[in-house]
């Protein structure tokens, strides 16, 4: 990393100009340690964060160990069946309490001094407890430390390190219904599967967010994947597809021309048997949900971003992606397959093959996205501290010309990214530099309920 003597954050982080129809983001936002530290404090420690899915810990005593916002946590279901999130750190001297990555246990015992805790946080045993006759109720003060807030929506478990965050559903806002739509695809809802993709990218976490909300990159970046679909009888199109800001930093791409949807929209590569199953399931959905709702649930692919660390890909199949920033230029990514609880084995096999063919670090498409994040992260070193004004900025103006006319933002524009960056700047306390007036016709949100 080149040494930059001046404060990179002194220049505006966002320059939005409605006279020139330009929107620019200061590249220090991806590069600066100071920005990263501000994000940690003002975003990651103050928002609701996605922790995991309830079905990862399906049974009482199940646990997973996971780091979120840099904090090692135990995500577990206690013996009574309640979902819990504890700091994975012994209240006694701070030792990592649970050193397994997953399992089933009623108790967590620290190896260092053998303090033992129940999976509801109660102290179960402190060796030679009599030595602590200090007048303090040791067992009460030494309970396992919980994450201050935990709430669940449709099986998605969220936590917050800030005890004073507003209720989860207020934070999720319009994003909540798109999570419900995934749950409604099948009778009995959805579950996660083992086989979790754990990988890391040499790129800032916000590059992964931008990429997911960027339909513009699809045709050039995924040229080989588009070719594979075409050879199998599916012509990818970007026509008539849109991007939405859902408020609170969340955003949504609605895609209808990027591929089939297992058990909902058939395409030739899925095979003839799946065509029959799809027709039956689609009819059942109309019966159960009504025509309009079934249309939104079944016939649209959704890529939903829930600020700051959750991406839901409801596309050919479904997957959950969680972002865990490690530093300005490094991000861990975790991806789970989300599947109908009750599914024909042939459909399940097709789903596994199809989803993995696209997503993940070994798929036919995601590696090119990773190449993009990493190439940006390396490339933006070129303009660091460049004295010429405006060079150290990335352009996200695409679609503003339509926005001033009140035309709905397309998936191949950059409106969803602009919404993300505006929310980000407000969250970390950078005032955007705005020239001109944002048009009154500016469209935001989407409500299909």
């Amino acid at each position: 990393m080149p040494q930059v003597s001046r404060d990179e954050t002194a220049a505006p982080m966002i320059i939005e100009d409605w006279n020139r129809l330009t929107f620019r983001v200061n590249r220090a936002a991806y590069r600066s340690d100071e920005v990263f530290a501000r994000e940690r404090e003002l975003i990651w420690l103050r928002n609701w964060l996605y922790l995991g899915h309830e079905t990862e810990i399906a049974n009482p005593n199940d646990f997973k160990v996971r780091t979120v916002a840099g904090r090692p946590l135990i995500f577990c279901r206690d013996t009574a069946g309640e979902v819990r999130a504890f700091l994975n750190s012994c209240p006694h001297r701070g030792t990592v309490l649970c050193r397994d990555t997953e399992g089933s246990s009623k108790l967590f015992q620290c190896f260092y001094h053998a303090w033992t805790f129940r999976n509801n946080g109660d102290v179960a045993a402190i060796p030679d407890e009599a030595a602590y006759e200090s007048g303090e109720n040791l067992r009460e003060t030494m309970r396992l430390r919980t994450v201050p807030r935990l709430a669940i929506h449709e099986g998605y478990v969220f936590i917050s390190f800030d005890p004073d965050v507003p209720p989860l559903l207020d934070h999720l806002g319009d994003a909540a219904d798109y999570m419900t739509m995934i749950e409604q695809q099948h009778v009995g809802g959805v579950q996660t599967l083992p086989g979790v993709q754990l990988y890391g990218v040499r790129g800032n976490w916000k590059l992964a967010v931008e990429n997911a909300m960027d339909g513009y990159h699809f045709a050039p970046t995924h040229n080989t994947f588009v070719g594979y679909l075409r050879e199998n009888g599916f012509a990818v199109t970007d026509d008539d597809q849109y991007a939405y800001n859902l408020g609170n930093g969340h955003s949504l791409l609605v895609l209808t021309g990027h591929g089939g949807r297992i058990s909902m929209i058939w395409e030739p590569r899925f095979g003839e048997d799946e065509r029959v199953r799809t027709a039956e399931h689609r009819a059942e959905m109309t019966e159960r949900l009504g025509e309009r709702r079934a249309h939104h649930v079944a016939d649209e692919s959704h890529i939903l971003y829930v600020f700051p660390n959750l991406l839901l890909f409801d596309i050919e199949g479904m997957s959950i992606r969680q972002l865990e920033p490690l530093g300005p230029g490094r991000t861990d990514v975790r991806a789970w397959q989300l599947v109908p609880r009750h599914e024909d084995p042939a459909s399940r096999a097709l789903r596994m093959k199809t989803v993995v063919s696209f997503v993940g670090p070994g798929g036919l498409a995601t590696p090119d996205d990773i190449e993009a994040y990493e190439a940006v992260q390396r490339g933006i070193e070129a303009t660091a501290a460049d004295p010429r004004p405006g060079l150290d900025y990335s352009d996200m103006s695409r679609g503003m010309a339509d926005e001033v006319k009140g035309v709905r933002g397309r998936s191949i524009d950059e409106g969803a990214m602009r919404g993300f960056w505006r929310h980000w700047a407000a969250a970390v306390g950078f005032d955007p530099q705005v020239a001109g007036d944002r048009p009154a016709s500016f469209l935001e949100g989407r409500d299909v309920r």
């Binding site: 990555t101 080989t224 036919l364």
Partner: protein, 175 residues
């Protein structure tokens, strides 16, 4: 614990397959991959073969049809993967990663049918690209068919030894 020896040879139908010829096959494959000769690599598979890389939480016995994977290619996807890697538009591998592969600990086991056998081996793959150097360690769990002119993969499975793929260590190349 009883240590079991004797994985240096295996009987496949009337033919005795010995470790040295399987090592030669695996070394030749490593060389083909390090040279990016993807058509020659695909020719090492029987039609209908599979290529798999389970995720790092993999525990033996999982079915790739019922769990997530890094790679679960059937014959169609395997051919699509090779076609992609040969394209200039496979951006993640253009320019291609430089790889260097070490294969060892080769052991042979009887197969489930009379024309194939199982082989396990350890691998270390070094990958250089973009000024970075990544190391992938793991174990092969292949099923090889015995044909008149040599061996062919019926299943080529690379099981990673990592807890998670390290930052930057994607699987855009053949592991």
């Amino acid at each position: 614990m009883t240590v079991r020896y004797g994985h240096g040879a295996v009987q496949v139908g009337a033919r005795t397959v010995v470790r040295s010829e399987v090592e030669d096959f695996l070394y030749a494959e490593a060389d083909i991959l390090d040279s990016w000769h993807y058509d020659a690599w695909l020719a090492l598979f029987v039609e209908g073969a599979r290529y798999e890389i389970p995720t790092t939480d993999y525990r033996g016995g999982w079915s790739p049809h019922e769990s997530g994977s890094f790679v679960t290619d059937d014959w169609d996807l395997l051919r699509a993967r090779v076609k992609r890697l040969k394209s200039r538009k496979a951006h993640a591998e253009n320019p291609p990663s430089r790889t260097h592969r070490l294969v060892s600990n080769v052991r042979l086991f009887p197969g489930d049918d009379d024309d194939s056998f199982r082989v396990t081996a350890s691998f270390v793959v070094h990958r250089a690209r973009d000024g970075r150097f990544d190391v992938y360690v793991g174990r092969y769990e292949h099923i090889l068919a015995v044909e008149d002119d040599g061996f062919r993969f019926r299943l080529r499975r690379s099981v990673l030894g990592h807890e998670a793929l390290p930052v930057g260590a994607r699987l855009s190349f053949i592991l």
